[in-house]
């Protein structure tokens, strides 16, 4: 006789119960009537895209300078690109425009909206009005970097994307290129100890802090782009002479087994030294 009663194992039963409970909840709440609808910003019911030209009517100071911004590269002529421009980040603004500005755009970043930050907590999802939520829509890779165990405190609300990036004017980087400030200066504002000048500099800093650090987030401590000796060996070439490994002409065969280049009493002064030419301390 064929047993027609199929059985769930323990995990399967749990899954089914959980799914059932979820569906029951959905079914239960569907029995009530609401006026409100779910919203995924920047879209919300009743608002449509009106194009950046409309924004220029009142926000001419911002729009004028926006021509110089990196983000201006998104703006094209044609109806299909109507939503590329101001509304890419601020959301559809028809309601904002029709109300004469009384109703703010979906992303307005004004005080009093949903907290920009969670004040310390790293939530799995940023508050809807936090600034980075807008940036994450297109820059999903950056969102992933900020979600890594080691990251600058943007998810915690202690920093914002606009601290280092300017979305409205000029290069997206606040420093670097042909700006007055150098790119490294963005880092040195908060990390003055690495500014120097040191007596013995580390020339890698000429290439920039981002040579060794990923500023958004990393799987490695100290935001390092690599946690092991490869970080240094990218530039400091290795030479194999018989069974001896030379780096810079010095025998490093045993040292390489003991850890990274900047540990175990070796080249610890990675940002520069005031004492030792080989950046040992």
């Amino acid at each position: 006789m064929i047993n027609r009663h199929f059985k769930f194992n323990k995990n399967g039963r749990r899954t089914v119960v959980l799914a059932g409970a979820t569906l029951l909840l959905l079914a239960a709440i569907s029995c009530t009537t609401v006026y409100r609808t779910a919203v995924v910003l920047p879209n919300y019911p009743g608002a449509t895209y009106i194009g950046s030209d409309q924004c220029d009517t009142c926000h001419d100071d911002v729009c004028k300078d926006f021509a110089t911004a990196d983000h201006a590269r998104l703006m094209a002529r044609g109806n299909n690109a109507l939503n590329a421009g101001c509304e890419s980040c601020h959301g559809p603004c028809s309601v904002h425009s029709d109300s004469g500005g009384d109703t703010l755009p979906p992303y307005s970043f004004k005080p009093g909206r949903e907290s920009r930050s969670s004040y310390g907590a790293r939530l799995t999802d940023p508050p809807a009005r936090s600034q980075e939520t807008v940036c994450y829509q297109c820059h999903a890779d950056v969102r992933a970097q900020f979600e890594l165990p080691i990251h600058h405190p943007v998810p915690e609300g202690e920093m914002a994307c606009s601290d280092c990036h300017d979305p409205h004017k000029g290069s997206i980087m606040r420093g670097g290129g042909t700006a007055l400030l150098s790119e490294n200066e963005m880092c040195l504002r908060c990390h003055p100890a690495e500014r120097g000048p040191f007596v013995f500099e580390h020339q890698a800093l000429r290439e920039g802090c981002t040579t060794c650090h990923n500023p958004h987030g990393s799987i490695n401590d100290k935001l390092l782009v690599a946690r092991d000796s490869n970080l240094c060996l990218r530039c400091h070439f290795v030479q194999n002479v018989g069974t001896t490994i030379l780096i810079g002409g010095a025998d490093h065969t045993i040292r390489l087994q003991q850890g990274t280049c900047w540990t175990a009493g070796c080249h610890e002064a990675v940002h520069g030294s005031r004492v030792n030419p080989a950046l040992q301390f």
Binding site: Y35, N80, A144, E156, L180, D228, N230, C235
Partner: protein, 780 residues
């Protein structure tokens, strides 16, 4: 009549079911107010058209009762396993029907309404109180480090905003802030202004981050190494106090003055790991015991800025003076726990600096088609520093001859001076409405010199004074050209180039590297250097449909550094860059993004990026070490980055957001082919986010979040070296229930569960954590 017919059909339907199932439902005697509409799934359940409110109430409860009893009876007559499946099928069917019949014709709701409730502009003040707790199991330090919460309870003001009229005529005052007790997280910002006249602002904040001073795990012995303070979490506070004031009178230059005192104070983990004997009989030494940073940094900054719109030009002048007092250190225990061998090392690093900068900028639009910006900056910086590296039994002890095994020093003192001159000019021209050309140039001249003296030490009771000097002059010129073309409908094309040339020299002399003839001789390096950095980029955005957009982009970067060492006295050539003559950095990068609004309620954003970086080095020929002058590829780094975002509103009351990111990144150097101690550096990871948000009723929302992260790059090569690849995994689930009791009062309850596993420490960094938080916001 239509309404009554609907009601009849529905209730009759239920009655028929009751007969069949021999069970009954209750009918509501209380009519609902006008305007209440039938839920979507009921309307779709064979009922067409709208119902009047009193009828709706009855129908609603009938339907609900029927549904309940139906399920109950179903459970009695169907075997358990099948019952569950059947129940789920029915529920899914109902939900599917409800989705189809979802009522989306309600009055449009602004984003403000959704997040703040009705009356957004009615109440301008609010205070949000919070309380809760963060409970950890496992590695508390890691939990606090990753989640940025202090273990234990907390409470205070989550958000405060007050605004009103100020004490003076036509002035307004605003006060914002938060204060969370025991999280060391405070922020207050007070501002008073008279529009178009003047303003002043006071700001203070502090926030704390935690770190886990855990070091290397040695698999063969199962030993886990901690820093000098053990497994306790290290805390580092950062904050500032500032004042900003200014006058903004019409017709006169706006002048602002600011003062900021910022600080960092506390302890932080370090990736500098001290040696231990992992295999005493063979005396194998590996660097596994972590050290910790002592940080005490205070910076005072004064800013004076003036702006004036004159001659159709925005002119700005700025003065900045900054005084820094940095008193940092590094504590390290060598061979911790090894009797007769253990000793401590204290590095003290004190630095005070004075930085002065003066800037002047001008920006002008010329006939709507040309925008010119130009600026200049002069900076001067003076440093005075001192420090020591002392070995002893304990931290902060005075120098004792004979301790430690390596070089140390004390009474180190010195200074450095820097002058920097920068000027730039950028022009944005729009020769045609569809073409934008932006050339720019920047020139910088930097000069600095530094010197230090001190007394070097060795383990043997030997001392020797040392001194060192260095100087550098460099001139750097950067040119750029950006093009943007929008002549093709729904297309935008862009291209850019940047060229940067530098010419400089670096002289280094002396330094501590030798005591009593032991060690490498002090440096004598005179190096001339030139560099040429080039970057070319191109991109295109195409909008073939209103619902579809493509973005393509890429760049090629080539940085070449040339060194000419007139003298390099270091015998083994270890001093960088004395042992090579050319180093080239190349990067190839390409990316594309597709944005697809498949439905009005469904948006997909996909992104892919590939990057390849290569560093080539040409060594200085040295026959003594068999080094030829042939170019060597010293590293090759490539990465694939895949990202996908999805947002969907399948039902008028349910929104779904999901994000996925996958990164495949490898750094290869020749070292991995020479020794098993060095593996290729793998930085692969992926993350997943899923966030459904549900509108439970007119006042209540439920938002769930799930986050997953995994890096699986750990390889146990402890037999050859120190395993360092990241191997960690994290699950995080949070739920937030928000209810707007009335337009003035909003409460929310949040729960979070976090589960973190770490392979690098063989589980010693694992933690589970629970976060419970309640918030109440009062608007007035």
């Amino acid at each position: 009549m239509k309404t009554r017919r609907n009601r009849t059909s529905l209730t009759e339907n239920c009655r028929n079911r009751r007969k069949v199932l021999e069970c009954g439902g209750k009918r509501s005697a209380t009519p609902l107010s006008n305007g209440v509409r039938l839920p979507g799934w009921i309307r779709a359940f064979g009922v067409i058209g709208s119902l009047e409110s009193d009828v709706t109430a009855a129908a609603l409860h009938d339907a609900s009762a029927c549904f309940e009893t139906f399920l109950r009876s179903l459970s009695q007559c169907i075997p358990s396993g099948t019952r569950l499946a059947a129940s789920l099928f029915i529920l899914l069917l109902l939900m599917g029907v409800s989705v189809i019949g979802a009522d989306t014709n309600g009055p449009p709701m602004s984003a403000q309404d959704f997040f703040e409730g009705n009356g957004t502009n009615t109440y301008n003040n609010w205070v949000e109180l919070t309380t809760g707790g963060f409970l950890t199991h496992g590695d508390r330090a890691k939990a606090e480090s990753v989640q940025n919460w202090n273990n234990g309870g907390f409470g205070g003001i989550q958000d405060l905003h007050l605004q009103g009229n100020g004490p003076f005529t036509n002035t307004t005052v605003t006060l914002d802030g938060h204060s969370i007790y025991d999280e060391h997280n405070y922020d207050v910002n007070a501002r008073m202004e008279r529009s178009g006249k003047w303003f002043m602002q006071l700001h203070a904040n502090n926030f704390r981050t935690w770190s886990d001073d855990i070091g290397g795990f040695y698999p063969p012995t199962g030993a886990q190494y901690y820093g000098p303070k053990g497994s306790s979490p290290l805390a580092l506070d950062r904050g500032e106090y500032s004042f900003l004031g200014g006058v903004t009178l019409d017709g006169l230059p706006s002048i602002t003055f600011g003062y900021t005192h910022s600080y960092r104070y506390g302890n932080e983990d370090s990736t500098i790991w001290a040696p231990v004997h992992v295999n005493p009989p063979a005396a194998t030494v590996q660097g596994l015991a972590p050290s910790l940073y002592n940080i005490d940094e205070r910076v005072d900054a004064f800013d004076l800025n003036a702006k004036k719109f004159i001659w159709n030009t925005d002119l700005a002048l700025g003065l900045h003076y900054e005084h820094g007092d940095l008193n940092n250190g590094l504590d390290t225990t060598f061979y911790p726990g090894e009797t007769g061998v253990q000793y401590d090392r204290t590095i003290a690093d004190k630095n005070t600096y004075d930085l002065f900068t003066a800037t002047a900028t001008g920006e002008k639009w010329i006939k709507q088609h040309v925008f010119v910006s130009a600026g200049g900056m002069v900076a001067n910086m003076d440093n005075n520093f001192s420090g020591s590296q002392i070995f002893g039994n304990g931290f902060g002890v005075p120098y004792v001859p004979g301790m430690g095994v390596g070089l140390g020093y004390y009474n180190m003192a010195g200074d450095s001076h820097l002058q920097d001159y920068v000027m730039d000019l950028n022009v944005l021209t729009i020769p045609m409405n569809t073409l934008c050309i932006t050339p720019g140039i920047r020139a910088e001249k930097e000069s600095w010199n530094a010197n230090s003296t001190g007394i070097g030490t060795l383990a043997v009771p030997a001392q020797q004074s040392f001194d060192s000097q260095s100087s550098r002059d460099v001139v750097d010129v950067c040119e750029s050209l950006d093009l943007r073309y929008t002549g093709f409908t729904n297309w935008v094309l862009s291209a850019g180039g940047r060229w940067e040339e530098s010419d400089g020299n670096l002289d280094q002399f002396g330094g501590l590297s030798q005591v009593d003839g032991i060690g490498a001789p002090p440096a004598t390096n005179y190096v001339d250097d030139t560099s040429l950095l080039q970057k070319y980029s191109a991109g295109a955005s195409w909008y073939p449909l209103r619902r579809l957009a493509f973005d393509f982009g890429g760049y090629y970067k080539y940085d070449s550094y040339n060194y000419s060492a007139d003298a390099n006295s270091t015998p083994d050539g270890e001093t960088y860059p004395g042992y090579f003559s050319v180093q080239d950095f190349q990067t190839f990068d390409g990316s594309c993004r597709v944005t697809l609004h498949l439905l009005q309620s469904l948006t997909l954003i996909s992104r892919y990026e590939y990057q390849l970086s290569i560093i080539d080095t040409t060594p200085t020929p040295d026959p003594a070490f068999g080094i030829t002058g042939n170019e060597i590829q010293t590293s090759r780094m490539h990465s694939h980055v895949i990202g996908q975002n999805v947002s969907w509103v399948p039902w008028s009351r349910l929104s779904l957001n999901a994000g996925f990111s996958y990164v495949l990144s490898t750094t290869k150097t020749p070292a991995s082919q020479e020794t098993a101690a060095i593996l290729n550096a793998e930085n692969n990871y992926w993350t997943l986010n899923f966030s459904p948000s549900l509108v439970l009723d007119d006042k209540t929302d439920l938002t769930l979040n799930y986050f997953y992260y995994q890096a699986d790059d750990y390889q146990n090569n402890s037999s050859s070296g120190v395993p360092l690849g990241a191997g960690s995994r994290e699950h995080a689930v949070t739920a937030v229930l928000t209810r707007r009791i009335n337009p003035r009062l909003r409460v929310s309850l949040q729960y979070g569960y976090y589960n973190y596993n770490d392979a690098l420490t063989s589980g010693n960094s694992n933690f589970q954590a629970h976060l419970v938080m309640a918030k109440m916001m009062l608007r007035f």
